[in-house]
Subunit: 433 residues, 2 copies
């Protein structure tokens, strides 16, 4: 404990006091293995949060690929290299035929920057449409898509539309078909507003499963109709698959789940199992246009290291059937969690997409008022029982469950016991208080 | 050869036709070792271009640190971790006392984004001053600092001043003192223009040795006086040490060579010897302010992997005396190259900062008109003799020499033979043609 206090003080100095950290008592994690993390006292935690180590913490095949690449060759991309071409070919082959070429980057933010600029160059328009509770990254341009950073911007080139959802619909009393139309009307308003401003519509950028919005159930038909509406307005559709892709949903890509066809696909987090790799994939014409216009170069990207590690991750997912694991364990866990709706007044809703589940905490199930304090408290209690989650979603009131893809049925069952206990204790504590 | 043609065709498809590549006949490099690169036919090249593998290609200590970190723990930064704190402490201790805390990123572009936004938040101003032949990165904001991408921007928040230099001075016939004043007057104009526009001065961002400008000899006193002028105007000084830092110049930091004190220091390329690591270092107040304002988080940055690899690189530089090597081999090579001025009409100037040397090609030494075609031709001829360089500089007319820090005196001597032959041949060819 003294060690943690001292380390935390050093951290505040060396990294700045505002450096983001999880939990009231931060964890001092020293080792990872598969779906497990271990703290300095040797305590084991089941990791139910981290999607980056998708094929497991300390995955031996990834370590081996990484060490082999770095001890053979790791240089920038202005020489010919077989591996990076092969990696790009494998990635593009996993999408529809409209996706032909790749621009590699290091971080999701960088890949989103490439996608947004690609869309602007290709369309000649500047306007960007996003949802009103999204997060796509941390650069000057991309952070403006986030609600907090958008506030106060005037004469902006960004329009944020209400994210489509069933739990707190835009308007009460509508059928699902009418609700879809109501959300689409908001998209049309944004398009018309951008046209009226003279900026035009460059792109609609959206996380394919609305992960940061809290994985809402989306009114039927919204996503494909939105994509077509944007394209009819001359814009391109960017699918942010940084969280949604790489089998997270039980399918390879989130857009398969929500049923639309993107023009540009951005991937990131799990691609390198911890090695910085991200990608912007699109038609060859879009990529060529971007490259000619910018002469884009990224020192660390499109490297032999990214290729070797990236392909080891794809191999692991394929050889170990991790997509199927995400589908089956995820479906089981979501169903089990949904059965619990009604057991406690604070469990408002449970929504899942494969191995990505959100349990939404509310003040009560009638008002559905978000309860972020409750969500944080539940995450703390679950952590004390050896399972790591974090609060997230549009109102920060969802317990976010997004484990490595190697997460097992047995750990899902163990988690449910901890979750039930945490909820019982929390409600008993509320009743006491 | 057939293989290279086929691989290049696949590359054009998978990565887009405009993906940047070196040399008329691209190199198919398959292996690296120290300062050497090997192509698919087993031919050895002395790498005189790559600064990223600063402690040598395939450095065993880096490989070992990387494999150990990845097989132990590599997760995001919201848990406590000793290594990343220690790495940040080591980095800040290498600067003056004004540098206290670090924000880690993956790429140089990301670290520059952090620096620019940090300066804007701290000053409340928006105006950015840069030089007119710089390159700081590839995002929407940062690419606007590049000349090509700035063109045509109206009502911009960026002002580009002529970079200070002795070879093609802003005005002929001035003493060095007067020339310094002339360049400073341009800076003052930019400051006053930004103030008049209401945007104010957030920052002057500059590569500490003006690397992309072509490593010019800078009129005495310009850099420290410029820094003070910017601070007096309420702005912060960002030193871009992505190329200049990490012993490249024979000193740890480029600003030590050109004699100024930055408020914010950005480092990148060599930090991870190929693993994506970059950093923005500043006072704790600046870093805290940035973190509070943005709640900045970068998934892959500030990671155990970055820390382990980053410290292995520092250890190698220190234990193997690579700063001293850069200083001594660099000084010898620069002197030997400078002695050659006058031997060929196209060798206009040679300038060096440690193990970073530029040989500027001109149409003739009277007009000093840049000759980019000559520079490219010389690089091709040198390559055919087994030494890798590339053309760079404000006019793309300098042969850029920037080898790994492990580059030896023997290889420097070998290079000189190749350089002399290449120049002789090129001039003989010109005479023929």
């Amino acid at each position: 404990m003294a060690d943690i206090t001292a380390l935390r003080a050093r951290r505040d100095r060396a990294l700045g006091s505002g450096a983001s950290i999880f939990y009231r008592e931060p964890l001092h994690i020293v080792r990872g293995d598969g779906a497990y993390l271990y703290d300095a006292d040797g305590r084991r935690y089941v990791d139910m949060y981290n999607n980056v180590p998708c094929v497991g913490h300390a995955n031996p095949r990834v370590v081996e690929a990484m060490a082999r690449a770095q001890s053979t060759l790791n240089t920038h991309s202005r020489y010919l290299h077989e591996g990076i071409v092969e990696f790009a070919e494998r990635l593009t082959a996993m999408h529809g035929e409209q996706i032909e070429s790749v621009v590699f980057s290091c971080s999701g933010t960088e890949a989103i920057e490439v996608a947004l600029r690609m869309a602007r160059f290709a369309t000649g328009a500047r306007g960007i449409i996003c949802t009103n509770a999204t997060y796509h990254g941390n650069s000057d341009l991309v952070s403006r898509l986030s609600r907090t950073d958008r506030a106060g911007q005037v004469a902006d080139d960004i329009r944020a539309i209400p994210f489509p959802e069933m739990y707190r619909p835009l308007q009460e009393g509508l059928s699902e078909v009418e609700l879809t139309d109501a959300y689409l009307a908001k998209l049309r308003e944004a398009i018309e507003d951008l046209r009226a401003s003279g900026m035009g519509v460059a792109t609609f950028i959206v996380c394919s499963i609305l992960a940061n919005e809290g994985l809402p159930d989306i009114p039927a038909g919204f996503m494909p109709r939105a994509a077509e509406m944007v394209r009819a307005a001359g814009g391109l559709v960017i699918a942010d698959e940084v969280q949604a892709g790489y089998c997270r949903t039980g399918k390879w890509w989130g857009y398969e789940v929500t049923g639309f066809t993107p023009d540009i696909v951005v991937t990131g987090k799990p691609m390198g199992n911890g090695v910085p790799v991200s990608a912007t994939a699109a038609s060859k014409a879009l990529v060529d246009g971007f490259r000619v216009r910018t002469r884009h170069f990224n020192t660390f990207a499109q490297s032999p290291l990214q290729a070797a590690v990236g392909m080891a991750v794809l191999d692991e997912i394929e050889d170990r059937g991790l997509r199927q694991n995400a589908a089956s364990v995820g479906a089981w866990l979501t169903a089990a969690m949904r059965e619990r709706i009604g057991r406690w007044p604070s469990l408002g809703d449970v929504r899942g997409r494969g191995l990505f589940v959100g349990a939404e905490m509310v003040k009560d199930t009638v008002s559905r008022a978000p309860d972020a304090v409750r969500a944080a408290d539940i995450c703390e209690r679950i952590k004390d029982k050896g399972f790591l989650t974090a609060a997230a979603g549009a109102f920060n009131n969802s317990v976010k469950i997004r484990p490595p893809l190697v997460f097992s049925q047995a750990d899902a069952e163990g988690f449910l016991v901890a979750f039930d206990q945490a909820m019982d204790e929390a409600h008993a504590a509320s009743a006491d208080g």
